[in-house]
Symmetry: C2
Subunit: 350 residues, 2 copies
């Protein structure tokens, strides 16, 4: 560990400095800076840190500083603000930051309105895929619990009733990934390793080495009608609010399992409720809702065919390490002028 002080510049020591003449003035949530300063220095990156403090203020070298004098040109929207409940405050200040040119987010989604506002100001935005392996595990776990009749097993144990429940195997089951981007592909790799047949749905069609089949959205009816598991993992855009409703669920194989790891507003939740009530959809695993946190009393909490989790799918034990590694990778890229990983163009936010 190289010597640093809590709020000052890193001391790059023996590592060759990649940006010797021009230290990068960059905003970090304090927790993220404390965690990452050594790794950044080890990568040869010189930083003049501005810290976003737990109380929402900014500081440089231990002294508070107003936003309009902070002069940072880069910012890390790390997971630390999420952990402290400061995401909204952080994004609101980024929109106001006068000199910001690049923000690295630790999230995959860019549907929050702040991203479009930042893009409109010319701020480069790079996102993260660090949650994807966790989402893949979440989805496979959800299928196992449903196929293995977890609720019935647990009820039998609670009743002290020795009862064997024959269960469905994942091997041989058919999965449809509605949205075959990197999340869909990660799910496909895991599911196929367990013997499932996976079809991906994406606008560009084509083929993919990690899926048994790829179809375009307009051509997915047959695959939907055969799917035992349907996973929704498309990004929320201006065009698809509520797009998955009665017509979508009417095309399901009766009793199929539905999993939403995309965004809550993609769904017509009333249509899902009807489809669950009449058994068209056998069970729904919802990690996202239109309104989050979902208020007590909403039907999803108590519907017998709903498993509800609190936007948890991505929060796996490897998330921080992957997120932190990406920051260093993209810092090296940014300071050397190489293309950023997971940068989204303004057209995606227009």
């Amino acid at each position: 560990m190289r010597p640093t002080d809590d709020s000052g510049s890193t001391m790059p020591g023996e590592a060759a400095s990649r940006n010797a003449g021009t230290p990068l003035r960059m905003l970090f949530p304090r927790d993220g800076w404390v965690r990452m300063r050594d790794a950044i220095a080890d990568a040869g990156i010189r930083i003049e840190p501005v810290l976003f403090e737990p109380d929402g203020s900014f500081s440089v070298e231990g002294r508070a500083i107003p936003l309009d004098q902070a002069r940072f040109t880069a910012a890390w929207f790390s997971l630390d603000t999420f952990a402290r409940g400061q995401d909204e405050a952080f994004l609101a200040r980024m929109v106001e930051a006068p000199d910001l040119r690049w923000m690295q987010s630790a999230r995959a989604g860019y549907d929050h309105p702040a991203f479009a506002r930042l893009a409109a100001k010319g701020v480069r935005l790079s996102m993260s895929k660090a949650m994807i392996p966790a989402i893949g595990e979440y989805v496979v776990a959800a299928v196992f619990d449903h196929f293995q009749r977890g609720p019935e097993r647990r009820a039998a144990q609670a009743a002290q009733r020795w009862q064997a429940f024959p269960f469905r195997e994942i091997a041989g089951s058919r999965w449809l990934c509605v949205g075959y981007g990197e999340i869909g592909r990660d799910i496909a790799v895991r599911a196929r390793a367990l013997g499932a047949h996976v079809t991906g749905v994406r606008r560009s069609g084509g083929t993919d080495a990690d899926a048994d089949a790829i179809v375009r959205p307009d051509d997915m009816a047959d695959a939907l009608a055969q799917a035992d598991v349907v996973i929704l993992s498309v990004p929320l855009t201006r065009d698809n609010d509520g797009a998955y409703g009665a017509d979508f669920f009417a095309g399901f194989k009766p009793g199929a399992l539905f999993i939403n790891v995309g965004r809550g507003p993609l769904l017509d939740e009333a249509a899902l409720r009807s489809a669950l009530d009449d058994g068209r959809v056998g069970h729904a695993v919802l990690d996202v809702c239109r309104v989050e946190p979902l208020p007590p009393g909403e039907w999803q909490w108590t519907h017998p065919r709903v498993t509800l989790t609190a936007h948890t799918a991505g929060i796996g034990s490897g998330l921080y390490a992957r997120t932190d590694r990406l920051l260093v990778d993209n810092l090296v890229r940014y300071t050397t002028g190489a293309p950023l990983l997971h940068e989204i163009g303004p057209e995606a936010l227009a």
Copy 2:
């Protein structure tokens, strides 16, 4: 489908008969015969069936016949007797059957005393591995539920509390398969496909392409101390009743997950209870117990760190198809004098 009557001989039709001169006089549980007669005929096997009826009697061509006149030389101990609660009755009669020379079991375990008695009479015994892929899925599902904090998630949903639970990923976790036969290997293949590190324990040592490491039982202390997941999948023999007790659990990494898909009597259940009470073992998933069915009131039903299922791990949706395919395979082998799949020698039962 070729014409047959419910209790008579198959009519092999166009399939070449493999045993034209000598139809095999073989005992089938009635349900199994009804399900399999066409497939057997399609394989070119001529059978003179004797049926084990749901009431425990025997019949030939629709007429009851006493066991000492039934003259079957082969028998299929299929899953149908399990489904009808007739396993004990079936085995008791097999031990008495005067002409029996071969029994194909649909089970993996041969610890029931009837197997040793049959072997002692010179009856060839071939077992089944058809439940193994289901056991593999059961184990992976059990790890997911524990790592993803399923009980806490479900409690939060029941309380209508929006709470995200960061979870443990299987990727990067370390598993120890105590007993690295075909079950251990199946688990290893699945776990490694999900990114886990797997060590197998078997007496013969050596290496195995499907495991990261293989150790002998006497050398497993280090691997045990590092394992996040410990799976017991050894057969029960005369030498290992209660062999996994206080010493075994004392070697665990504190908080590790323990899964028993072997046999209940392998465990010193009181020692497991103590290890769970003091947190040395973080959670136990038990699919088997020393006494089955486990009587109501036993501690395993209600211990907060126990997930109990009723000898369910092997009962996956592909079990019957795999079991039935094995019967045909071994019928072909038996009638042509080829080695039987999964035959156990008398030394295993001596």
